[in-house]
Amino acid sequence: MKGKMKILAGTETLQTDPNFSAEVREKSGQPIELCYQCQKCATGCPVSHHMDYHPNQILRMISFGLKDRVLTSSAIWLCSACETCGVRCPNGIRISEVMDALRVMATENNLSRAKHTESFHRIFLQEVRARGRVHEATLMAKYKLKSGQLFTDLDLGLQMFKKGKLPLIPRGIKNKKEVRDIFTRSEISREGGK
């Protein structure tokens, strides 16, 4: 599969959503209709060869309205938001903004296949909400527990602990309520888009 363009139709009939491309354009603020498939984005992308669809293919699928395929793709979660593609795109399309919008849409529609990645981000934000800062030792332990990978990276964790990099007592900020209020208010304003 890797490295080859996929033929999307063939004998299969694909569900399309005619509003999808307008929705992505609005949520990302990017002129995705300008993409002419030069593939410069995919060429410089550090992870494109691990993606199920290359960045330019994602763009084309958006124009086709292939909402489910796009939102369930692994590509949108492998994008590291490095912005290499955005700086180089001859049409000024910031694909990482597009990927951002797609990740939020995938999460909202409960379509994300990258449950581990999503759960990591959720745990991270729970930490911030609870304490105002992230405590890396707690974060790693919680993530490893939740994703069932308790023993991977254990040696690294131990090494860091020995080097005094993972203090065991989480420190929080004084004004935790202020941060909690920011969370509550941004969850409300989230309904209103970006």
Partner: protein, 279 residues
């Protein structure tokens, strides 16, 4: 000279040596750092992946704190720097978004302070000449490559840092310290740090490409200003005798300025730096 200082969560933990070295070096160069009182997390990649409103509001709370201090703020961590710059950029250029952020955070954006990375603060506010005059132990013979990563340089209209495909600020600084900054083409390549826990195999491959490129260029070590890159490059490279250490630029400054406490910072590295630097 005074600047506000936003360390960020990594500098309290995995990047402890970056915090220690930043504070020592700035003190030695008479740049006073005022830590933002009760600063909070910038939300990092997680807020930006799950909730856009939060991705601006969390950094904005810290911008509000910096406004109160009334002096420009310096951010050593490239990831925090990117999040703060982005929120600032949005508030400056998008009125509707600014109002929403102001309401969420409960402050008024005044656009009266500049957010700068620590590299820019050191090079811009102190100056290479002033630094050169304080070098007592030039890092002669040390061959390095400078690694800027993504977050310092992209997107250029937001970060406003040096040239986007071939930045040179860290190279100039490193050479001022007496080391040799070699040419290579991976200065701004992404190291995949944000995928380090969730897609480890992908990241190991990216890291090995970068380390190999550094070796090919003839480097003994990598110099960076990003805690994500630093820990990722040391943590995810192939194990073995021949590992390549990755230093914060402030650690090398501390060595060249002859600061006694520098030894302690280097001990915190996962890759043994002993083969490369004389402690």
């Amino acid at each position: 000279m005074k600047l506000s200082y936003y360390p960020g969560c990594s500098l309290e933990s995995t990047a402890k040596e970056y915090d220690l070295s930043s504070r020592s070096v700035c003190a030695a160069l008479d740049l006073e750092l005022l830590e933002l009182e009760d600063w909070s997390c910038c939300g990092s990649t997680s807020a930006h992946n799950l909730n856009h409103a939060l991705a601006s509001a969390l950094p904005a709370r810290n911008i509000a704190l910096a406004q109160k201090n009334g002096v420009d703020v310096t951010v050593p961590c490239a990831a925090c720097f990117a999040r703060l710059r982005k929120a600032d950029y949005v508030m400056r250029n998008d009125e509707a978004a600014r109002k929403e952020i102001e309401e969420t955070v409960g402050f008024k954006y005044q656009d009266n302070i500049k957010i700068m990375s620590l590299v820019e603060a050191v090079v811009g506010k102190i100056g290479l000449q002033a630094i050169a005059s304080k070098v007592v132990k030039p890092l002669e013979g040390l061959k390095v490559v400078c690694y800027y990563g993504c977050l310092m340089v992209r997107p250029p209209e937001v970060q406003g840092f040096d040239r986007v495909e071939n930045p040179t600020m860290l190279d100039d600084l490193t050479e001022t310290l007496g080391a040799q900054a070699l040419k290579w083409s991976y200065k701004t390549e992404c190291c995949g740090a944000s995928l380090s826990l969730t897609n480890t195999n992908v990241v190991e491959e990216i890291v090995s490409r970068i380390i190999n490129a550094a070796r090919e260029a003839g480097a003994e070590a990598i110099v960076t200003s990003c805690p994500m890159c630093q820990s990722n490059l040391e943590m995810r490279q192939e194990k073995g005798e021949n590992q390549m250490p990755c230093f914060y630029f402030t650690e090398l400054m501390g060595l060249a300025l002859g600061l006694d406490e520098a030894k302690g910072w280097f001990r915190k590295h996962l890759v043994d730096p002993g083969r490369v630097v004389n402690l």
